[in-house]
Amino acid sequence: MEELVNLFHGFAVALQPYNIMLMVIGIVLGVIIGVLPGLGGANGVAILLPLTFSMSPTSAIIMLSCIYWGALFGGAITSILFNIPGEPWSVATTFDGYPMAQQGKAGEALTAAFTSSFVGALFAVVMITLVAPLVASFALQFGPAEKFAVYFLAFCSFVGLSKEPPFKTIAAMMIGFALAAVGLDSITGQLRLTFGVTHLLNGFDFLIAVIGLFGIGEILLTMEEGLAFRGGKAKINLRVVLQTWKELPKYWMTSLRSCFIGCWMGITPAGATPASFMSYGIAKRMAKNGKNFGKGEIEGVVAPETAAHAAGTAALLPMLSLGVPGSPTAAVLLGGLLIWGLQPGPMLFVEQKEFVWGLIASMYLGNIVGLLVVLTCVPIFAAILRVPFSIIAPLILVLCAIGAYSVHSSTFDVMLMLVFGVIGYLLKKCNYPLAPLVLAIVLGDKAEEAFRQSLLGSQGSFGIFLSNPLVSTIMILGLIALFWSVIQEGYTRLRATVAGPGSRAA
């Protein structure tokens, strides 16, 4: 029951008036970030990270994680009202949310979306509370080989689970590793890959990459499409909320299933987006009125929103307990920890109890605050979306520039940001996933260190990665994840041939 005591201490920290204020600010900023095109969760947190340099780490992480929750909530608003997914994980929400809004049921759809988000997040936070300390204490025994195996597993699941072509995922990931390797080598203290450019001595900062790839890249994509906003009015009042709440318990099964899908997908670093699609697809197949999905079925809003929020929250579990972030935004938060001088990973639970439990407590409170804020302020946030893009775009570009500059007070970084932006635009258009690239920049140094230390211990033999049951299990799990799509395809083909032609389910 030590955890419970710790959690109560955490609540005491999170409930300080100053932290509550930061929570509200964070949620509001987060929703705005989630609503605006070009400002996603990862990128928004990256831009605002420098604002927190003067705060205590606990207050800072409370605010930043609340921005994250806010962004998760915000994505639903644009999907339902404007059929524009503010975030990739809200794409599945548009399928039924937008038709509902067109039928004049925007209030119901929004209430359902926010409530399911809340339920999903709460489920994931409870899971984190119970599981994270166990994982952390287990991970304390990890040596370099096990650490590398965990990174290996994380990156393999990217290749196996992402919907982009596997070799494009690998290419994107390796670019990230290469960028991470630039600069001072942490083990030998030698310079590498700088080619005499002094600006590169410290390597590429992933925050700059995040702001460029996600922020500028997204703006360029939007410019190309020449967006015009045309959307319904959002009216949401207490009566609609209560009525929808009365209806929602009917879908508890969908909700629970989506929670599990979300948590599972969130921990493996495939993230919220596939979780929302998977959950929508399964709900469509299982629901009684599944054929009505896509025409404005409330269950079709509940399923993806629950899963996306559960996954987004669960992504923090591996970040806290293993130091392996489950999503780009979690990666940015992890970068924040490093900047504040905290070492993410299992030792955090031993050395920084106040920080960890303050954060976990703030997850509970932040999501309650978030639910209240979004339910009451939807019309205001929807109004932001009506501001034309030609005003929003330069403001976002300026914000990105400020964010990039303030990381190291360097104007070179701002130019680098633009370069990353153009690269992000090209990669995105050519169907390369950006998340593994960013995660590889964040984890590159650590993965390399673990890899080289393991080899050092084994005198260069790769056998070290299969030397004991623990490390072999993780490595084999990684290989399974790597070849997951191949395995799955083989399995369906096998089943199809066994069952005979014509009996394959659609």
Binding site: M174, A181, L193, G226, I391, V414, L426, L427, K429, L456
Partner: protein, 165 residues
């Protein structure tokens, strides 16, 4: 926003994708060259600095090769983007390039004001009052939030020096 010319021509997706893939492969070559310079074999402290990036570079080149092969084999005659769309994109990239390039000399505030004003006037066709309100308002708010409340210094130029901020 105006959607540029409506001509349905532009670079094909295949061509651009092949170009991007080759650029990635070139990046892989650079990584390998840099790794070789840093040393890829074993030194007294174990694997030397270039050891890990060398294999990363190999992976980049190998996966680019497969991507290039897959991309060329694919039956995709679609356009990457229309010229008009690309012009839209460039109409943001080039001014942003000038904006970030001028920042070290004239500071963030002046550069931002000019940039926002240009963007709104040129691409948004707003009247001057709206343009000036946003272009002057945003840097002011930025100043208050970043420099005053959160004490994050931003780059300044001669104008700020003259104003003694």
């Amino acid at each position: 926003m105006t959607t540029g010319s409506s001509s349905n021509t532009g670079p094909t997706h295949k061509l651009v994708e092949a170009g991007v893939t080759l650029l990635i492969a070139l990046f892989g070559v650079i990584v390998i060259a840099g790794s070789l310079k840093a040393g890829i074999n074993w030194g007294p402290e174990g694997p030397r600095a270039g050891f890990f990036p060398f294999y990363i570079g190999l992976f980049i080149i190998a996966s680019s090769g497969i991507n290039l092969w897959n991309g060329l084999r694919e039956d995709n005659d679609g356009l990457f983007a229309e010229w008009g769309q690309l012009r839209q994109v460039l109409s943001v990239v080039i001014p942003t390039g000038i904006y970030v390039g001028s920042m070290p000399f004239i500071g963030l505030y002046v550069a931002s004001t000019i940039f926002i004003a240009w963007f709104m006037r040129w691409l948004g066709k707003y009247n001057w009052i709206t343009v000036l309100a946003v272009a002057l308002g945003m840097p002011l708010v930025t100043y208050l939030i970043f420099e005053r409340w959160f004490m994050v210094p931003l780059p300044k130029g001669p104008v700020e020096e003259w104003l003694d901020l």
